[in-house]
Amino acid sequence: MDKPLGVVDILLVEDSPRDMELMLRALRKHSIANPIHVVEDGPEALDFVFCRKAYADRDILRPPKVILLDLKLPKMNGLEVLKEIKSNELTRTIPVVVVTSSREDPDVKAAYSLGANSYVVKPVDFDGFLSAMSNLGLYWLLVNHPLK
C-alpha cells in the first residue's frame, strides 16, 4: 500500500477486511494477476479516481480498468461514490461493478440508474463467491475494452 503506485487495473472499494481478503484470494485463485488497489472508504476511493490528496501523483488519464465498488461503505456510501465518478466527464467511462450482499438490495436499482455497469452479489458460500468474482474479472479485464 505504501509503495508508489504504478498502473492499477482494478480498484477495489471494500471496508470489510475479511471480504477484501476473500475477494483478493478469489481473484488470485482465478489467475487474475492484474495490479489491484484497495481503498476502505468512499472519500479515499474518490481521491484515488480523481488523483487527489494521497493519490495526487496518479495520472488521471490512466484510470483503472474496472472499479469493484461495495455499496456499504463508511463515511460515504457506494452510491455517492458512483454518482461522483459517473458525473465527471473524465471518469464517466470507467466501468463500475457494484458489489452487494443481497440481490434484493434496492440500492442495486439505484446504482444502475446512476450508471453502474454491472453488479455482483457476494454469496455466502465461498465457492459461489469465487466463481462470481472470477467471472467478473475475466469479463471486464479480458473481453470488454473500456472506451478511452
Binding site: S16, R18, D19, K72, S101, S102, K122, D125, D127
Partner: protein, 789 residues
C-alpha cells in the same frame, strides 16, 4: 127599394076617373090631400081643387079655361105630350120625377108624384085628363135618408177594416167585402159561390150552426164567437165573429150579417203567452231549487224539487197540509216572525238557514227565502228553498280541516309562520328584484305558532305578529336575500334552505327553512314560512365532520408512522441481509481457506467439524434469504395479469427437479384454469407447494403427486396432493405459521417459512389456503383464488 123604378110604366084602366062636378064631389075632392087638376081635350083647365089653391095661392077662377101651359109655364113639351097622350089614348101615366110640375109647386121644394089619368069633362063628356099631384116630399125625404143609409152601409161594408158577409139563412154566401175575401185569400166572386161550411173550420161548424140557430129562432139577437176559418191555402184563420140576423118588417129572416175580425195575431200572442207560461211553469217545475207556495199556512203548490226535498211522492201528500208540520221546532218562532213581517209590510225576506223536516221526520238543512204574494184574494208566500246539506257538510269538513290545520300548526315541532302581503298583492310577473323589494315592504306576520315565536326569542305568538319579513330575514344578510330570490326564481317555493342565525342569547343556531307562496291570478297573496331548528343535527354533523377530520388526520399520521416503520423495517432487512451475511461469508470463506491451505494436516474429525461450520453458515444464509423474501412479499405491490396456471405449475416442477429425480416421481397435472394474479408471486406459490410435495414424498419408493383444480362459482380451488410423510391433522392450522415445522430438520430440511410465504401470497390475492393430511398418508394443500374479472 127603388120607389121610382116604375116611372112611365102603364097605369091600369081601372084608375080612370069620371069627374061629375057636383057639390058632394067637390067637397070630397077638396078635402083630399092631393092636388087635382082637370084639363079638357084642349088642355085647358076645367077644374082646380082647393089643395091646388092652397099650395099655389092661385084660385080656381083665375085658372079655369086657361091652358095648362099658361099656368105651369116651365113644363116642357114632354109633360104636355104626356097629357095629350093620356087624353088621346085614354091610358093613365105617371110622370117621371124630373117632369113634375115644378114651376109653381117646385118653388116650395115639394116633391111630387104626378099621375095623369084619363077623364071625361063637361056635359059632352069630352075626353080630358086629370092630373093628380101627390106631395111626396116627406116620403122623398125618407127615401133619401134611406138611400144615404144604404150608401153608408155600402161604404162600411165595402171599406171596413174588418170583414163582413151576408149569408142567406140556408148558408149561401150572398155578399162579402174585400177584407173578408182577402182574409181568406179568395176573390169576392169566388167567395160568393161558396157555402159557409166551405170556409169554416170543421170543428167550429157545429158551434157556428148552433149560434146561427139561436139567432134564427130569436133566442139571441146577436151572437159572438171565436171561430176558425180555412184560408184558401188551407191555413187556419182565427177570427172573432159577430152575427146578427136581418129580418123584414114581417119578422121573416132575410139574411145573416156577420162581422169578422182576424184575431190570428192575437191568438198567436195568446199562444205565445201560454207557451211562455208553460215555459215559466217548466222552469219552476224543473228548478233545482225547491219552490212552494203556502197560503193560510198550508201548502198550495210545490214543484218537484220541493216534493223531493220533503220526500213526498206526489203533491197530494202535501197540498193542504200545514207548513209548520215541516219546520224543525227550533225555527217555528223565527218563521212565524218572518211570515208576520211579510204579511204586514209585504216585503221579501232575505234568505236564512233553516231546518226542515221531511215526511219521514228526518231533518234537512236548507236555505230559504220568501216572497209575499197575493193570490185570489188570499195572502200567501212564495218560498224558495235550497238544500244546503252538501254545503253544510262542506262547511263542516272545512271547519274540521281548519281545526286540523290549527292543531297541526300549533303542535308542530316546526316553527310555522304566515306572512300576509299587506295592501296590494305582489305581481309575480315583476322582475325578481322588484318582487324582493315588495316582499320586504309588505310581507307581515299574520299568524305563527309558539315554536316560531320561541325560535325567535319571544314567549308568545302574539308578540311577533305584525313583524315584517325583514325582521325575520334581515336584508343585510346576503343569504336572506338569496333565499327570497331562490324562492321567487323557483316558482315561489323553496325547500330545505339552511340558515344560520344568531339567537337572542348570543348562540348560533341553524335552521332548515321552507317558503311556500300562495298565488292567485299571478298575484302573490301570502307566504308560508316553516323553520326547523337543526342546530342539534348541525352540531352532530359538525362533530362527525370534526371526528372524520381527526380520524383522517390520525390515519394520515398512522400511515406516515407505518411508512416510517416500513422503511425502518426495510432498511433493517437490508442491514440484516448485508451485515448478517458478512460474518457468514467470512465463516464459510475462512473454513474454506483452512481446508485448502491446511487440509493435509487435518484429521477426519477436524474436516467434519469444518464441514459442519460451513453448512451452518450456509443454512443461516438461506434462512436470511427466506426471511427477506417473506417480508418483501408482505410489502410488494401486486401487479396482476392473466396467469396460465398449468404452464406455471409444470415449469416449477421442471425447475425443481432434474431428469433423474423426475424418473422417480409420478406427477399428474390436471386442467388448471388460468387466473388473474401476480405471476412472480404465484410462481413462488407453485414452487413452494410442489417443492414441498417433492420433498415430503421423496422418501417413498414412488412419489405420487396430483395437481388439480376445481371451479366453484367464482372461485378456483387448486390442490397439490402427495403421498408423502403427511402430517398430524391436529396441527394443520399451525402449518402456515412462520418457522412452524411439523417435521424435524433431520427428517426434512427447510426453513419453516415456505408455507407462510404461500399463505401470505394467497391472502394478498384475496384467497385462502388450507391443508389436509394424516401422518404417513400424504398431504393435500389447497389454495383458493377468486376468478378474476
Amino acid at each position: 127599394m127603388d120607389l121610382f123604378r116604375n116611372a112611365d110604366s102603364e097605369v091600369h084602366e081601372t084608375d080612370k076617373i069620371t069627374f061629375t062636378f057636383d057639390e058632394l064631389f067637390r067637397t070630397v075632392v077638396d078635402s083630399l090631400d092631393l092636388g087635382i087638376v082637370v084639363v079638357d081635350h084642349a088642355c085647358c083647365i076645367v077644374f082646380w081643387n082647393k089643395w091646388m089653391t092652397t099650395k099655389t095661392g092661385i084660385d080656381e077662377n083665375s085658372v079655369v079655361n086657361r091652358e095648362i101651359i099658361e099656368i105651369f109655364t116651365n113644363i116642357n113639351t114632354s109633360v104636355t105630350n104626356a097629357i095629350k097622350s093620356v087624353i088621346n089614348t085614354g091610358c093613365s101615366r105617371v110622370l117621371s120625377p124630373e117632369f113634375h110640375l115644378s114651376s109653381i109647386l117646385g118653388s116650395t121644394g115639394m116633391q111630387q108624384f104626378v099621375r095623369i089619368v084619363p077623364a071625361e069633362t063637361g056635359e059632352y063628356k069630352k075626353r080630358g085628363a086629370a092630373i093628380i099631384i101627390q106631395d111626396v116630399t116627406a116620403r122623398f125625404q125618407t127615401e133619401k135618408a134611406l138611400r144615404l143609409s144604404e150608401q153608408s152601409f155600402r161604404t162600411v161594408f165595402e171599406y171596413s177594416t174588418i170583414g163582413h158577409s151576408l149569408t142567406a139563412p140556408d148558408g149561401n154566401i150572398l155578399e162579402v167585402n174585400r177584407v173578408f175575401a182577402d182574409m181568406l185569400g179568395y176573390s169576392i166572386e169566388e167567395m160568393i159561390k161558396l157555402d159557409f161550411t166551405d170556409i169554416t173550420y170543421p170543428e167550429d161548424i157545429p158551434a157556428s150552426q148552433e149560434c146561427m140557430q139561436r139567432v134564427f129562432t130569436g133566442k139571441d139577437e146577436i151572437y159572438r164567437m171565436e171561430k176558425r176559418y180555412i184560408h184558401k191555402n188551407s191555413s187556419i184563420i182565427w177570427t172573432d165573429v159577430s152575427t146578427t140576423l136581418l129580418r123584414n118588417e114581417k119578422e121573416e129572416p132575410l139574411f145573416f150579417i156577420t162581422s169578422i175580425q182576424d184575431i190570428t195575431k192575437r191568438k198567436q200572442a195568446e199562444q205565445a203567452l201560454r207557451d211562455s207560461e208553460a215555459r215559466f211553469r217548466l222552469f219552476i217545475e224543473s228548478s233545482p231549487y225547491a219552490i212552494y207556495v203556502q197560503t193560510g199556512g198550508c201548502f198550495t203548490y210545490l214543484n218537484s224539487s220541493a216534493l223531493s226535498l220533503f220526500g213526498a211522492d206526489s203533491p197530494e201528500n202535501l197540498i193542504g197540509k200545514p207548513v209548520f208540520n215541516f219546520f224543525h221546532p227550533d225555527f217555528h218562532d223565527i218563521i212565524k216572525k218572518r211570515i208576520e213581517i211579510m204579511g204586514k209590510r209585504k216585503l221579501n225576506v232575505s234568505p236564512i238557514e233553516e231546518i226542515y223536516l221531511r215526511m219521514d221526520g228526518t231533518s234537512v238543512d236548507v236555505e230559504a227565502s220568501a216572497v209575499p204574494i197575493f193570490h185570489e184574494g188570499i195572502d200567501g208566500v212564495l218560498v224558495f228553498v235550497k238544500d244546503i246539506t252538501e254545503k253544510k257538510e262542506t262547511e263542516k269538513a272545512l271547519r274540521l280541516s281548519e281545526e286540523r290545520y290549527r292543531a297541526f300548526v300549533k303542535q308542530s315541532s316546526e316553527a310555522i309562520c304566515l306572512f300576509e302581503i299587506e295592501g296590494k298583492p305582489v305581481d309575480t310577473d315583476l322582475p325578481i328584484e322588484e318582487q324582493i323589494d315588495l316582499l320586504y315592504g309588505s310581507a307581515v306576520i299574520s299568524e305563527c305558532n309558539r315554536k316560531f315565536a320561541v325560535t325567535h326569542g319571544f314567549e308568545n305568538p302574539e308578540d311577533i305578529i305584525g313583524f315584517r319579513i325583514g325582521q325575520i330575514f334581515p336584508r343585510l344578510a346576503k343569504e336572506n336575500v338569496d333565499y327570497l330570490r331562490n324562492f321567487i326564481q323557483n316558482g315561489h317555493h323553496i325547500d330545505n334552505f339552511e340558515s344560520r342565525e344568531l339567537s337572542r342569547d348570543g348562540t348560533v343556531r341553524y335552521f332548515l327553512n321552507s317558503l311556500t307562496g300562495f298565488i292567485e291570478k299571478k298575484k302573490l297573496l301570502r307566504v308560508w314560512s316553516t323553520k326547523q331548528d337543526i342546530t342539534r343535527i348541525k352540531k352532530a354533523e359538525e362533530d362527525i365532520r370534526m371526528l372524520n377530520a381527526e380520524l383522517e388526520q390520525r390515519v394520515r399520521e398512522r400511515t406516515a408512522q407505518l411508512k416510517t416503520v416500513n422503511k425502518e423495517l426495510e432498511s433493517f432487512s437490508y442491514s440484516v441481509s448485508h451485515d448478517l451475511r458478512a460474518p457468514l461469508r467470512a465463516i464459510d470463506g475462512y473454513v474454506r481457506i483452512l481446508l485448502e491451505d491446511f487440509g493435509p494436516g487435518l484429521d477426519d474429525e477436524a474436516r467434519r467439524i469444518c464441514s459442519v461450520i460451513s453448512n451452518s453458515a450456509r443454512d443461516m444464509g438461506h434462512l436470511i434469504d427466506s426471511l427477506l423474501t417473506f417480508s418483501r412479499i408482505g410489502r410488494a405491490a401486486i401487479e396482476p395479469s392473466l396467469v396460465d396456471m398449468k404452464a406455471m405449475a409444470k415449469s416449477a416442477f421442471f425447475e425443481l427437479t432434474n431428469p433423474a429425480e423426475r424418473e422417480c416421481i409420478d406427477i399428474n397435472i390436471g386442467e388448471l384454469p388460468s387466473i388473474s394474479g401476480d405471476p412472480t408471486l404465484l410462481r413462488q406459490v407453485w414452487m413452494n407447494l410442489i417443492g414441498n410435495a417433492i420433498k415430503f414424498s421423496s422418501k417413498k419408493e414412488h412419489s405420487v403427486i396430483r395437481i388439480r383444480a376445481e371451479t366453484h362459482e367464482n372461485q378456483v380451488d387448486y390442490s397439490i396432493q402427495d403421498n408423502g410423510a403427511g402430517f398430524d391433522g391436529e396441527y394443520s392450522n399451525k402449518l402456515f405459521n412462520v418457522f412452524q415445522r411439523l417435521h424435524s430438520v433431520k427428517e426434512f430440511d427447510g426453513t419453516g417459512i415456505g408455507l407462510a410465504i404461500v399463505q401470505r401470497i394467497v391472502s394478498r390475492h384475496g384467497g385462502y389456503v388450507r391443508a389436509e393430511g394424516e401422518t404417513g398418508k400424504g398431504a393435500t394443500f389447497h389454495f383458493t383464488l377468486k376468478k378474476g374479472d
